[in-house]
């Protein structure tokens, strides 16, 4: 009888534990930085190196400097598997303790965005999310530095047209995209530019189920005979598209990807045959940069990293981009610390920090990341920063810079951003707007 009683008690405690946990006490001198990661599922292939990079940069700060000005950075992952439902669950679970939300999927961003006004936690989506998040007056809590998808699309067009979009007149451009909110992001801008400069845009969607078997899409590309193929791909879709392109004998130098479609691992599957493939990127891997050397010294060599060294993950574009993403976040924290003269930054203070970042050349040099990230600065009204980006090209074994720093043409984009932000606010009445008078 007593044993039974004990067992009942124990199970009652176990059952009660999860209810008590979400509000768990948070140490006095640490900041919780959660990441809605995906190391499982069909998108894990591209997710893992990015998340490793994010994790290792913060581990390096903690190991090298003992935290940020003495405040320990508590990096936590919550696994979503790129599943929107799980992502929202993670958000709900973490929101009481966290200083920031990093949703890592446009679908999750979509669901969490309206809640940010209510819960007052900044949402940081570097290089993804909505392009319209640039408008800080409407999206007070959302940040997508250093460049948005519309920036990316414009820069790609600029690069392939040799700087003059009018030279694309009469050409045909295929947009091969993932059939998800992320993949559809660039369509409005591309169509607008197409009308203005006289080229046709043919969007070809790839469903999540067809990611690994894109023969129908590539047959369509063969029939359409486009002058260029742009790719908004992710996860297993990248590798599928690049192998199909090799098979279809589509000229690689007319095939250009957004920054999430430029992963070394995907190109290694085809090796030399992928030579000439380009991908725009707002980060550039440099294993010799001081910051990467520190990560190697304090984290990788100390055996604290999860990376797959044998496959050369350390040198890959995505791993080092992950590190840059964490660097942007930590920089936001530092700005907030300085401004509010406090150590443990709250979510509200971090928001101020994220919109007053100034990552100029001198600052990047001080961080040891010179040349890895183009300089940019955010303001209250501009949550993107528009760093510009480089075009990287696959040389058979790795990505190399193939252009100078490109800048998007703001004229067309800002108009679209304003309209999209207005539409969004109108569809979600009452939506609080900020005046941005500081």
């Amino acid at each position: 009888m007593r044993a039974l009683y004990k067992a009942t008690l124990l199970s009652a405690v176990l059952a009660a534990a999860p209810l008590a946990l979400p509000g768990a006490a948070q140490a006095e001198d640490s900041v919780v930085l959660p990441n809605l990661s995906y190391r499982t599922g069909p998108f894990a292939a591209t997710g893992i190196p990015l998340m490793n990079g994010q994790r290792d940069y913060i581990a390096m700060i903690n190991a090298r400097d003992g935290g940020l000005n003495g405040v320990k950075l508590d990096y936590q992952e919550c696994e979503t598997g790129y599943d929107t439902a799980k992502g929202v669950e993670c958000y709900e679970k973490l929101k009481s303790s966290s200083a920031v939300t990093q949703p890592w999927s446009t679908g999750i961003t979509l669901q969490v965005l309206p809640k940010t006004n209510v819960d007052k936690i900044p949402l940081l989506a570097p290089g993804y999310g909505f392009s319209a998040m640039q408008d800080g007056k409407t999206f007070q809590w959302a940040y997508n530095p250093p460049a948005s998808y519309w920036d990316g699309a414009d820069m790609i067009l600029k690069n392939i047209s040799g700087g003059n979009l009018d030279s694309l007149k009469g050409k045909k451009i295929v947009l091969l995209h993932l059939d998800a909110p992320y993949g559809k992001e660039p369509i409005p801008l591309l169509e607008n530019l197409g009308q203005k400069h006289g080229f046709t845009v043919v969007p070809i969607p790839v469903g999540v189920k067809e990611m690994q078997n894109q023969s129908a899409q590539w047959l369509q590309i063969r029939r359409e005979k486009p002058d260029f193929v742009l790719m908004w791909g992710w996860g297993a879709m990248n590798a599928g598209a690049i192998t199909e392109a090799v098979k279809t004998k589509y000229p690689m130098d007319q095939f250009v990807g957004i920054w999430w479609s430029g992963f070394d691992g995907d190109l290694k599957l085809v090796g030399d045959q992928g030579k000439g493939y380009r991908s725009i990127s707002w980060s550039y891997p440099n294993s010799e940069a001081p910051v990467m050397k520190d990560i190697k010294k304090y984290v990788v060599d100390a055996g604290q990293s999860l990376i797959n060294q044998a496959e050369g993950e350390f040198d890959s574009v995505f791993y080092q981009r992950g590190a840059m993403i964490s660097m942007i976040l930590v920089e936001g924290l530092r700005v907030a610390q300085d401004h509010f003269n406090t150590k443990v930054v709250s979510a509200d203070q971090l928001r101020w920090g994220l919109e007053n970042m100034k990552l100029d050349d001198a600052r990047l040099k001080a961080l040891g990341a010179e040349g890895m990230l183009p300089p940019f600065a955010t303001t209250c009204a501009d949550h993107t920063g528009h760093s510009g980006a480089w075009m990287l090209q696959w040389n058979g074994t790795k990505f190399e810079k193939s252009s100078d720093l490109l800048q998007a043409d703001r004229g067309e984009i800002d108009g679209l951003v304003e309209k999209a932000a207005k539409d969004y606010a109108a569809a979600n009445q009452p939506w609080p707007a900020s005046e941005c008078k500081m």
């Binding site: 190391r39 499982t40 599922g41 069909p42 894990a44 292939a45 893992i48 059939d179 070809i204 969607p205 790839v206 469903g207 999540v208 189920k209 067809e210 990611m211 690994q212 078997n213 894109q214 023969s215 129908a216 899409q217 047959l219 369509q220 063969r222 029939r223 996860g235 297993a236 590798a239 599928g240 192998t243 199909e244 098979k247 279809t248 004998k249 691992g265 995907d266 290694k268 599957l269």
Partner: protein, 319 residues
């Protein structure tokens, strides 16, 4: 009028206008069809012998391919990894029979079907735990599968046929012939068919249920490995491959759950027709991606007129 023209005339004009392209489309469809047929074959074998609708066939493909690649990554030479993977699939078959099937003997069909979904989830978690979730390259050249392509230039265009795909088709034919020979000629094969015809009678003449089940699941595992190798060679091995199981289901509807011929003919038919529909009707008229449902709708239409499927052996489950 315009619409009727674009549905009834334009596609055929396109086909005749670019025959080299048409050949390429049919070839691509054929290769997919072979893969659908292979997966459907795994379903049919298990359904025939045990009335289990094995949803786990899709994940078995991933699991087999991952084991092969994973072993190779850990330093096992490719040609040794192959038999080792077969051993793993045998162990899997034994485990499934012991742990899942034996306690569930004689339960309603839907319970067994759910159990195979349980197996699917378990294998997804287990596979990712051991091999990781990232996309892996299939060890094609290490296994001696050629990677180049043949090119023809008929009608002034060009048709490119991957040598890997040719290997797929040839390999699948060999596999199917061997399987049919085994089912029709060997003692074990006859036992499997006997079990499919009449459980009670088969048991009473001394056929061991558990041996046959292990054997059938092992054969399904072998088919899964073959499918995994050829499909993985096209676009790498990852858990996204799992969804091809859904492609095999309409094949089963079309061909009949119990017919080996049906699985093969149905698979090829669906592979080719869905590709033609997608290229000539789906993409120009419906915005593409029709491959997600075309096979199901086709099978549904056929079933309304022939409820037992094209090759159903008898009128089963007819209302």
């Amino acid at each position: 009028m315009e619409l009727a023209y674009s549905i009834l005339v334009q596609p055929f004009a396109d086909m005749v206008g670019a025959p080299d392209f048409l050949i390429q489309v049919v070839w691509e469809g054929l290769v997919s069809g072979v893969l659908y047929a292979l997966i459907a074959l795994g379903f049919v074998l298990i359904y025939k012998s045990s009335r289990i609708f094995n949803f786990a066939q899709g994940i078995m493909v991933v699991f087999a391919a991952l084991t092969l690649v994973g072993l190779h990554e850990r330093g096992v030479p490719a040609l040794l990894a192959l038999p080792l993977t077969l051993l793993v699939m045998l162990a899997l078959a034994v485990a499934i029979e012991r742990v899942v099937l034996r306690p569930l003997v004689n339960q309603p069909d839907i319970i067994l079907f759910m159990a195979t979904i349980g197996i699917t989830l378990f294998l997804v978690g287990f596979g990712e735990l051991i091999f990781g979730g990232e996309n892996k390259r299939m060890i094609t050249s290490e296994l001696g599968i050629p990677t180049g392509s043949f090119e023809f230039e008929p009608f002034g265009g060009f048709v490119s046929i991957e040598q890997g795909d040719v290997t797929t088709v040839v390999g699948a034919i060999v596999l199917v012939v061997a399987l049919l020979a085994f089912l029709n000629r060997s003692k074990m094969g006859r036992a499997i068919r006997a079990l499919g015809d009449d459980h009670q009678a088969a048991l009473s003449v001394g056929i061991s249920l558990s041996t046959i089940w292990v054997l059938v699941w092992f054969i399904a595992g072998v088919i899964a490995l073959a499918t995994g190798i050829v499909w993985g060679a096209r676009a790498g091995v990852s858990f996204a491959l799992e969804v091809i199981a859904y492609k095999a289901l309409p094949v089963l509807m079309l061909g009949g759950l119990e017919s080996v011929t049906g699985a093969i003919v149905g698979g090829l038919m669906i592979g080719i027709l869905e590709k033609l529909f997608e290229i000539y009707w789906g993409q120009p008229l419906l915005g593409g991606n029709t491959e997600a449902w075309f096979a199901y709708m086709l099978a549904l239409l056929v079933l309304l007129f022939r409820p037992q499927g094209l090759f159903g052996e008898k009128i089963i489950e007819r209302v």
